[in-house]
Symmetry: none
Subunit: 401 residues, 2 copies
């Protein structure tokens, strides 16, 4: 990827507008060796028409063979090297619920879980308790005080919550207590540096006090901690690209990443129609729009091939509403693949489409994995997508003019 200091030097402010659509987990896999993927199976006349005017390709979110989490996946799309900008999920989750992190705060993800009388985990998600119950439990836990630091507990969604520790000399290089399996006890937290060890002592006190409070609640009678991370500011998209970027997303997680890179979070409803309405309404106010579509990933995660096809077809039907706004550049891609056959994120390269008047269209004219493979962009790193979007928007001056 191009060094951000070079991009910063070349970027110019112009009136052109970029709409960057992330169909979460869009890359897929066929159910049989010679079959079609979810995206190839879908009837997508609008995407295909756009593809015929666009340049296609495949992108590697992180590196060949590496399956990205949502955080690194999105950071890569926004041009941040996910290895160098390795921001823990704890931080992303806290940002995602709108918690105002301060520099050096430590954030971790809490999962409410169920343990038996011997302390062995019987359900890692406590039966996915409703958010309302989660909020009530969190209200109790938020009363916990620990000497020398401030502690904040906030509900996220279902059985998930956030733990934030604020204080001096804290470290975030801490392992998870979630053993990722039932039938085991929570794992002890471990860390190597002094600051992280100090933070582990605080986290252990928190877990002890939390356990006392919820021991008799059912089914959520214990907490697991994971994704510890220290919050550190990173250069904003405004600083790097001279953009005035905005985010249209439903789920907190994606808003969190967007906030981290300095996007304005646009308020809106819960459906794709709502999201497109927001895009239309705010189209004059920004020059970059990150529009996140969650349900492609959810269907893949649930292993529902047909459902994923349906979500894609639904997006295709609504695509003209985006095209009618006539953005100068349209990027359509995903943060990673989520093949239904794998019921989870995967390492497979992700279909990528870039449209602009100057994109140099290729012969590929169906937005699907096989056509993208023959596309004019070839196989690129996700971290190069933003540079290409900027170039197509004529927002980059030449290097060494």
């Amino acid at each position: 990827m191009t060094n951000k200091s070079v991009i910063k030097e070349l970027a110019v402010k112009t009136d052109s507008k970029i709409v960057f659509v992330v169909l979460d987990g869009i890359g897929g896999h066929s159910l049989t060796p010679t079959g079609k993927t979810e995206l190839e199976k879908a009837h997508t006349p609008n995407l295909n028409k756009l593809a015929s005017l666009s340049i296609l390709g495949l992108s590697n979110p992180i590196a060949p063979g590496i399956t990205p989490g949502s955080g690194p996946g999105h950071l890569g799309l926004f041009g941040y090297d996910p290895f160098k900008s390795n921001i823990g999920r704890g931080v992303l989750a806290a940002l995602g619920i709108g918690f105002s992190l301060k520099t050096s705060d430590i954030a971790a993800r809490i999962n409410f879980c169920t343990v038996n009388s011997k302390g062995i985990i019987t359900d890692r998600r406590a039966g996915r308790i409703p958010t309302s119950l989660c909020s009530r439990l969190v209200e109790e836990l938020d009363k916990i005080k620990i000497k020398g630091v401030e502690i904040f507990i906030r509900a996220v969604r279902d059985h998930r919550a956030s733990l934030i520790i604020r204080g001096k000399n804290l470290g975030g290089d801490i392992s998870d207590s979630d053993p990722q399996k039932i039938g085991l006890k929570p794992k002890p937290l471990t860390g190597k540096d002094i600051a992280s060890k100090r933070t582990i002592k605080i986290a252990n006190q928190f877990v002890l006090k939390a356990q006392e409070i919820i021991a008799n609640k059912k089914p959520a009678n214990m907490v697991l901690l994971r994704g510890f991370a220290k919050y550190q500011k990173i250069p904003s998209m405004k600083e790097i690209y001279k953009l005035n970027p905005s985010c249209i997303a439903v789920y907190p997680m994606y808003k969190g990443v967007a906030r981290l890179v300095g996007m304005k979070i646009l308020k809106g409803g819960e459906t794709l129609d709502d999201e497109i309405d927001v895009l239309k309404e705010k189209f004059n106010n920004h020059d970059f729009f990150f529009l996140h579509v969650k349900k492609t990933d959810s269907a893949g995660e649930d292993g529902k091939f047909k459902q994923k096809v349906k979500v894609i077809e639904d997006f295709d039907k609504k695509l003209p509403k985006i095209l009618n706004l006539e953005p100068d550049v349209i990027v359509i891609t995903g943060d990673h693949s989520t093949p239904s056959i794998l019921k989870g994120h995967s390492w497979h390269p992700v279909p990528l489409l870039i449209y602009s008047k100057y994109c140099r269209p290729d012969a590929a004219n169906k937005f699907g994995e096989s056509d993208c493979l023959r596309g004019g962009l070839g196989m690129i790193n996700a971290t190069d997508i933003m540079t290409l979007a900027m170039a197509n928007a004529l927002k980059l001056e030449k290097f060494g003019a």
Copy 2:
């Protein structure tokens, strides 16, 4: 790209000959989304015949989405990482007119421009004054003396000239005074380190004195400075590749880059026929020939699609004269794309052809963007082209023998 120390270790001297043709700005763009590019539109039977015996591909001059200037573009082609070998245009311009730079000299580009009575720029190029007038103005300015340093002013071409500052403790990390727009005053020069700040004071004195001299000249009554750089030697192609390289080019700029990497500049005429005559005449004296064709770029810069097609067809007609010399390796590519539709350099990958007896020809047999996309070289970085040329010339030993 492969580290130059590795190439240096593997390179061997042999009798095989490489002809490296740079069709400046050869990459293009169609006028309509489904149309053909300049190169695809051109009738090129000779190039196509060669393509059928060659391996094709596309190259990224710098990095995806980055539009290269001519200097970095050519450095990349010769295997020098344009980010790491960032040699300012000031240095390249001075080299290009044959000025003998000394290590640590500071060089900048001068543009004669027109300002109104309020000092506001009304023409950044002073109506592109003829080189003869430029030379007369330069003669006056070259008399300027500044205490503690030596100052050299040399004419380049049209409204362009070179400023060279020679002295101790000078720095070249200085911004441009050219605001790149009319209707504005020249920007103040800025720099961060002490040496550059010291140099700015000298440059400001120069501008002040220059302005006094030319204030009443029309239309060139002011100077703009850009591309400040410090001259520092870089490893030569002889050191890295064990080649005895030569350059056949008409424009000073390209001779400058060639001189920087240690090529011998072969004297010749002004036309492509002249250049090919020189190649023929000196074919026994060197094992590497950089042959530069400028007019593809000029036509693109002028936005003349048909003219660019014509220049390409003209080159095609003359190609057999090069082939008749039977070089062992022929590379045909560009330093960047210059689509007529954009009237300037662009980020688009550049068509690339490598011919040798051992190139492993692919199914692509038309030298054009679409065929190159399906070529056996795939999408590569320009910095890898020299390594491939050397390999095809059987001039590289195996690594880890």
